[in-house]
Each structure stands twice: as structure tokens, then as C-alpha cells.
């Protein structure tokens, strides 16, 4: 991707760091004021990285280790309320434990940024990635982003503060990162310098909402039915405006750093003339691209589409990019038991996004990689073949297939499932 550069490319140094380290570097460069933490794997690597930087004198910030995630998130919320740039984070059930505080952070329109090191929800106690944890705030006014690489983690942390703190948006932003596959894997990352970062992200200004003795205000009084709907509509307006702000910020990222993503909302790989497409979020994009390269080498017209911003959901991009595509396989690293076609959350969102299209591709739901199970290139090749077959057969509504699970597609002991046709 090339863009017009108004300034010389900023000096950057290269380091081999994990996804969590990359976020920590961004927090240092952003001069974040208050970091609240409570340890849980795999997000807590960012706590380790930040506390080391503070101890080494590389970073000047309040680092508060709370007694629980609920308190941690409340600390972040209140810090943001008094005008401090704040950071929080968690994983799995830790994120869930603080849910009330997360919800009020969004309804108070406070631009806290969070890292969710995606982790399977208990039980069973497992450390591996599932996207359900971060998904739990998807309807509450949180901006949500899934990153694929450590570089993207660093860059998106900068973007997250810029977008969240924009007066037109003022919503919190959670950055999701696949547990283990990105939180604990090291990539070569270009780390910019603080001056460049401060040119990209202006100081945080809460304006006349700042909670301060010089600005006597009351926050979040008891509202009843005559007021709540208007408050919700305000959050909705902020989320609607976020699309333009994200596009503007991403363009500005190119200008300041001399590099950056081609599309702010989705990562489209070899989509130009694709007849079949696989979709997913997070590190599945890495193997997805390899699978596409192999299939292209074999003469198949296949592309990969990675959703980056999940809130706001990239409906215009998906409609445009999937127009004319024959079949699409949606790979969910999450579950939504009992939902449409028994697919995951991304599948349901994509299906809804495409509904206004006069001609829609065949859409095939897959669930893969739960609990940190690896999703291999072969898995993706298998999914693409299923999509092609479903398209050729004209199957309009395939029940979701689980990829990489031990056992048959349906339970042979389950008569009802067999009578329904089950899954192939």
C-alpha cells in the first residue's frame, strides 16, 4: 500500500516482541496516565511489560493493581472521568467478572482502552483463545477490534485512543488479541518514537464533562423512563459517527507514520477476482492467507477477508467485497449456542450484513479453534472445499460444521438430529 507522504517517514526501530509487549510499547508512547490491572492469563503479560517499563524509568504512569477486575475497570473508568488517559484489560472470565463496570464505562461515554487477551470462558479452566469473552460487550457501546499481528497490536492501540477520545465518538475501545497465538508469540515490530505518536494522538480532553472541583457536575444520576432512551440514542450516535472517525484516523496514520493498513475496517487478501472467500477474525488470518496462496497456486480463485473492527461492524465493506462472490465460509472462533444455523457470532453478523443485497453468496458457518485449538492450513482448505460443494449443490442453509473436533458431524445416538438431516 502506498500513500502520499506529507512528512518524511518517522524514525522507527525494530524489535522482536510479543503482542502484549507491543501494546505496552504503545502505552508508553501514548504517555498513558493510569493503568489498572488484575492478573489473569494471557492478558497479564501486558502488566508485566508495563510494570517493568515504569520500574526502569521509561514510563511515568500510575499503575494500580486492583483486588479484582471489577475494581480494576472502575479505577479505569474513574481515572478517565477526571481526565486521565486510562488503560485496563483482562481475559476470559476476568473480563466477565468486571462486566458491570465495563457497561457503565460505555454508557458514561468514557474513552478507556482495554486489551482483551482472548481466552476460553470457564468452565473448564482453559487458557486458550476463544472470542466469546470480548464479544460479551458487543451490544453495549464498546468499540471492538481484533488484531492479527504484534505490529497491528501496537498500531491499533494508537488508533484506538485516537478514535475513542475523539469528541465525535467518546466510546471505550477494546482491542482483542488471540491468547497464546499473539499474546505470547514474538514478532518483528516497528516501534515508532514518542514525538510521532503525540503528533498522531492529541492530548485527551474531556471538556466540560471532566469531573473536577472547578467543574461541578453530577455524573449518572438516577434516570427513569423519561430520560434513558435519549441517553441510549446518544451512544448510538457516537457509534454511528465512529466509522468516519476511524477512516479519518487511519488516513492520518498513513500521513504521520508513512505506513498503515489499506482498508481501515477489513483486511482483504487476494479478494480482487475471488469466487470463494473464507472469513475470520484474529490470528486465523495468518493461516488463512497461506491457505489462499496455496489454493491460488492450484488455480482456485479464493480470497481471505479478515474483519478488524467488529464494532462498528463493517457492513458497507462486506457488502461491496462479497458482491459477486459465489460462496463464503465464515470461521468463528466463538460459539453462540442455539443461534441461526447453530453458527457463531461472526456468522450471524455477516449474514445480517448481507441481507439487503439483492444477490447474496452462499454462506457457510464454521466453528473452529475453540479453547485454543490450532486452526491449520489444512482445516481451511477443507472448509473452502465444503463452501465450494455447498455452492455447487445450491444448499441455502447449511447447519454449522465444527472443524477440528474429535468425533462425527452428528451424534449417531441422536435420532432427532438424524431426522433433521444433521450436518454432512
Amino acid at each position: 500500500m502506498t500513500t502520499t507522504q506529507e512528512t518524511a517517514p518517522a524514525p522507527e526501530r525494530e524489535e522482536i516482541i510479543t503482542g502484549c509487549d507491543a501494546v505496552a510499547q504503545a502505552l508508553r508512547l501514548l504517555d498513558v496516565d493510569v493503568l489498572a490491572g488484575y492478573p489473569i492469563r494471557p492478558y497479564d503479560s501486558v502488566m508485566t511489560a508495563v510494570s517493568k517499563m515504569i520500574a526502569d524509568g521509561q514510563m511515568d504512569a500510575e499503575f494500580i493493581v486492583a483486588e479484582s477486575e471489577h475494581s480494576q475497570f472502575e479505577i479505569g473508568k474513574h481515572a478517565s472521568l477526571v481526565g486521565a488517559r486510562a488503560f485496563i484489560g483482562s481475559s476470559g472470565v476476568g473480563w466477565m467478572y468486571g462486566m458491570e463496570a465495563l457497561v457503565v464505562t460505555a454508557s458514561l461515554r468514557l474513552p478507556v482502552v482495554a486489551l482483551v487477551g482472548n481466552r476460553a470462558l470457564d468452565d473448564p479452566g482453559a487458557f486458550g483463545v476463544e472470542h466469546n469473552d470480548a464479544m460479551m460487550v458487543r451490544d453495549t457501546g464498546w468499540l471492538l477490534y481484533w488484531v492479527e499481528s504484534a505490529q497491528e497490536a501496537l498500531d491499533t492501540t494508537l488508533l484506538a485512543y485516537r478514535v475513542a477520545e475523539d469528541k465525535r465518538v467518546m466510546l471505550p475501545c477494546a482491542l482483542s488479541m488471540d491468547g497464546a497465538f499473539l499474546t505470547h508469540s514474538q514478532h518483528m515490530v516497528r516501534v515508532p518514537v514518542a514525538d510521532t505518536v503525540s503528533a498522531f494522538v492529541p492530548p485527551y480532553e474531556l471538556g466540560d464533562r471532566r469531573f473536577h472541583p472547578d467543574n461541578p457536575v453530577s455524573i449518572a444520576p438516577q434516570f427513569n423512563e423519561d430520560w434513558v432512551m435519549e441517553a441510549r440514542r446518544q451512544s448510538d450516535a457516537g457509534m454511528r459517527r465512529a466509522r468516519a472517525v476511524i477512516a479519518e484516523a487511519t488516513a492520518d496514520f498513513h500521513r504521520v507514520f508513512g505506513r498503515g493498513p489499506a482498508d481501515p475496517f477489513v483486511d482483504s487478501y487476494r479478494m480482487e477476482d475471488a469466487e470463494y472467500v473464507l472469513m475470520g477474525m484474529g490470528t486465523v488470518g495468518m493461516v488463512g492467507k497461506v491457505a489462499v496462496d496455496r489454493m491460488r497456486a492450484a488455480g482456485k480463485k479464493v480470497g481471505f477477508l479478515r474483519v478488524k473492527w467488529f464494532r462498528p461492524f463493517p457492513q458497507p465493506e462486506l457488502r461491496a467485497l462479497l458482491r459477486g462472490v459465489k460462496g463464503v465460509g465464515v470461521v468463528d472462533r466463538d460459539y453462540s449456542f442455539g443461534s441461526n444455523s447453530h453458527g457463531g457470532v461472526l456468522y450471524t453478523e455477516v449474514a445480517a450484513a448481507l441481507y439487503p443485497e439483492p444477490r447474496r453468496p452462499v454462506l457457510v458457518p464454521f466453528i473452529a479453534g475453540l479453547g485454543g485449538r490450532e486452526v491449520s492450513v489444512d482445516n481451511l482448505l477443507e472448509m473452502e472445499e465444503t463452501v465450494e460443494r455447498a455452492t455447487a449443490d445450491g444448499v441455502a442453509d447449511l447447519t454449522c460444521q465444527w472443524i477440528g473436533v474429535r468425533g462425527p458431524d452428528s451424534d449417531p445416538r441422536d435420532v432427532a438430529a438424524t431426522a433433521e438431516g444433521g450436518v454432512r
Binding site: R209, P216, W227
Partner: protein, 360 residues
């Protein structure tokens, strides 16, 4: 119930917690009795009043309809319409109703349908009650059911017959929204059917009705709360703070009060305890070190009287003997003897200070 509409509501306005069971019995029994007349009904608790606090004005409605569709429409409202009678279970509620939603102090008769009846349980005269009740633009009826306000303890049902006497009075003042016979028949399934029937008849017969013409009553100063649209509201659920030394004009609390603290300023030792303990910051320091009372924001909790170290200095006195929320220290300033006369007169008028008020 008027001819045009097939649905009518009975509003029972009561003191939160102390009269909750009272309101529940009245509304539910009215609905059950109406079923004996092939009518349908349900009750609606004013949701904004929940959870209740001690003494705060609260409402429960009985909705009586001829058909299910009319009932369904009313049952999905916070406050059902066509209120043909408002039962006021404590006469100090005539000062108005301020629930804990942001509506300000609303007149006790704000939702009364034209031609409807305000039924007050009281020993006061119509003239005394009209002192607080705002005028309407239509004719209405002030009905008085002689009686004391029936207060239970915390959530306790005070079985003194006020509920059944009120139901009997409702039948009478509505001209048979529910007939006395149906109420008596319904009471047949109660534990003491004869006692209940007697109470129903007593209420039916003892209620006194006084027609009130349009324009008669206190000045109506109620202004509905301004409701900005979503583009006008400040974002992030931010509202301006109440300035130091001032009180919230949108939440005054005085309608919760049934007794008020009356201060015998000449015995005050200026210890500041009332000023310190008042949960609503209602004590205003005077230049000579006394503490005047802001009666607009006093909810009558009695903590000041409980805490005052001087016997007889702060006494809780029945609210209904007072005519306004004006602070009283200025009377003391201009003439201490006249103030003492006024204070003694009010205490006497109220039948003495309430010695047990505010035990918590």
C-alpha cells in the same frame, strides 16, 4: 366510569412502606370484586416509586374495564388514564406527590379525570384540605372519609379497617364503579366477612362529598419537568451539580414529610448536631448560631429531634397544622415571644409533639 369509555382507574396514593400493604389490599380487592360484575381488572404499581422508602409518596392503581382490550392498553402504562377517583391515604399527602423520579412535586389531583373524586382519609375540614390542593379547570369532588392515616410499621399490615372503609367509600363516590353488594360478596371470602361487610358499609355511609367548582383551591404552581431531546442533553449522563449552599430544585422531598421538626430556638445550645446529622442538609446556620430549617427539603425523618441533646428543643409536629414551607427563624428574630406563642399554638393544634417519631 363515564359512558364514553369502558375503563376507569382508581389511584391509591399512599405513604411508601408504611401503607404499602394498605394500598395493595384496596386495589386488589376492588379488582376481585369487579370480576363479580363481569368486569376485568388489574393493578399497576407506579414503577418509578419502587423501591419505596419510608413515607415517600407512592401510587398503586386498580384498573377496571369492561373488556380485555381496554384493560391491556392501560396495563402497559406507568400511570393508567381516566382516574375516576384518587384515594389519599394520609391527608398530609395533599401537599403533593414527589416520587423519586424527576417529575418535581406534582399536585395530588394532577391526574384526576374531570368530574372525578379526590377521596381523602382525614379528620380535617374541606377548607383545611383545600389549602394545599390546587385548583382544577374542571369541576371535581372532594370526598372526606373520617379517619386517621393508617400506618403499618415497616412493611406491616395495619388491620384497622381503613382498607375496607376506603373501598366502601370508593363505591359510593364513583356511583358504583364497583357496587357495595359486590364488595360485600367479595369480602365473603375474607377471614371475618361480617366485620368486613360492616367496615364496607361504614365507609360507604360515612364518606362526605363536597363538590368543588373549577377554579376553587390553591394556586396551581406545577410546571411539568422540561424534557430535552437527545441532541440537547449533555452527553455521558452529565448534569450540572447543585451549587454548594443550595439545594436541588428538582428533588425537594418535603412531600415525604408527615411531621416536621419545630425548633424552640430560645433553648438551642448551638451545638451544631442537627446541622451535622441531617441527611438532607436542611439546617441553615443563622448569624447568631441557631439553625433554621429548610422545610422544602426536609423529609421529616426525625433524626434531628432524636439527636438534639436539649429536651424539647427540636420536636416533631404533625405536618397538617402548618400552612406553608416558609422557614420560621425570621419570626423568632423579629419577636421571640411571638414565635414562642406560634410554636406552642402549633404543638397544641397538633395534639402535642409526636414523641415516638423517628425511632429507627
Amino acid at each position: 366510569m363515564s359512558d364514553e369509555t369502558s375503563v376507569g382507574a382508581v389511584d391509591v396514593t399512599y405513604r411508601g412502606i408504611f401503607q404499602k400493604n394498605l394500598a395493595g389490599v384496596i386495589t386488589k380487592e376492588l379488582v376481585k370484586a369487579a370480576r363479580r360484575e363481569d368486569k376485568v381488572g388489574g393493578t399497576v404499581q407506579r414503577y418509578g416509586d419502587s423501591p419505596e422508602r419510608n413515607g415517600i409518596p407512592a401510587k398503586q392503581f386498580a384498573v377496571i374495564a369492561d373488556d380485555m382490550d381496554s384493560l391491556r392498553v392501560e396495563m402497559t402504562k406507568y400511570e393508567p388514564e381516566n382516574v375516576v377517583v384518587v384515594c389519599v391515604m394520609d391527608d398530609t399527602l395533599t401537599k403533593g406527590v414527589e416520587s423519586w423520579a424527576w417529575y418535581g412535586v406534582r399536585p395530588i389531583n394532577v391526574n384526576l379525570a374531570p368530574g372525578g373524586t379526590l377521596l381523602v382519609v382525614s379528620h380535617r375540614s374541606p377548607e383545611e384540605l383545600l389549602h394545599w390542593i390546587p385548583r382544577r379547570t374542571y369541576d371535581w369532588t372532594l370526598a372526606i372519609l373520617p379517619g386517621e392515616p393508617s400506618f403499618g410499621g415497616l412493611w406491616v399490615y395495619n388491620d384497622d379497617g381503613t382498607d375496607y372503609r376506603t373501598m366502601g367509600a370508593v363505591s359510593r363516590v364513583t356511583g358504583g364503579l364497583i357496587s357495595l353488594d359486590s364488595l360485600i360478596a367479595q369480602a365473603g371470602s375474607a377471614k371475618n366477612p361480617d366485620l368486613r361487610a360492616a367496615q364496607l358499609r361504614e365507609g360507604y355511609e360515612s364518606v362526605q362529598m363536597h363538590p368543588i367548582a373549577a377554579g376553587v383551591g390553591a394556586q396551581d404552581t406545577y410546571v411539568p419537568v422540561e424534557m430535552p431531546d437527545w441532541t440537547q442533553m449533555r452527553e455521558g449522563l452529565v448534569v450540572p451539580a447543585v451549587e454548594v449552599g443550595k439545594n436541588n430544585t428538582l428533588f425537594m422531598k418535603y412531600t415525604t414529610r408527615t411531621t416536621r421538626p419545630l425548633v424552640k430556638f430560645d433553648t438551642c445550645v448551638k451545638c451544631q448536631i442537627c446541622y451535622t446529622v441531617c441527611p438532607d442538609e436542611c439546617f441553615i446556620p443563622t448569624p447568631e448560631g441557631h439553625y433554621d430549617v429548610n422545610y422544602e427539603h426536609c423529609c421529616g425523618c426525625g433524626i434531628c429531634a432524636q439527636s438534639c441533646p436539649v429536651s424539647g428543643c427540636i420536636e416533631m409536629v404533625d405536618e397538617s397544622v402548618f400552612e406553608s414551607n416558609e422557614p420560621l427563624h425570621k419570626v423568632f428574630e423579629s419577636d421571640p415571644a411571638a414565635y414562642e406563642d406560634l410554636r406552642a399554638e402549633k404543638v397544641a393544634q397538633a395534639g402535642g409533639a409526636n414523641p415516638h417519631y423517628g425511632i429507627y
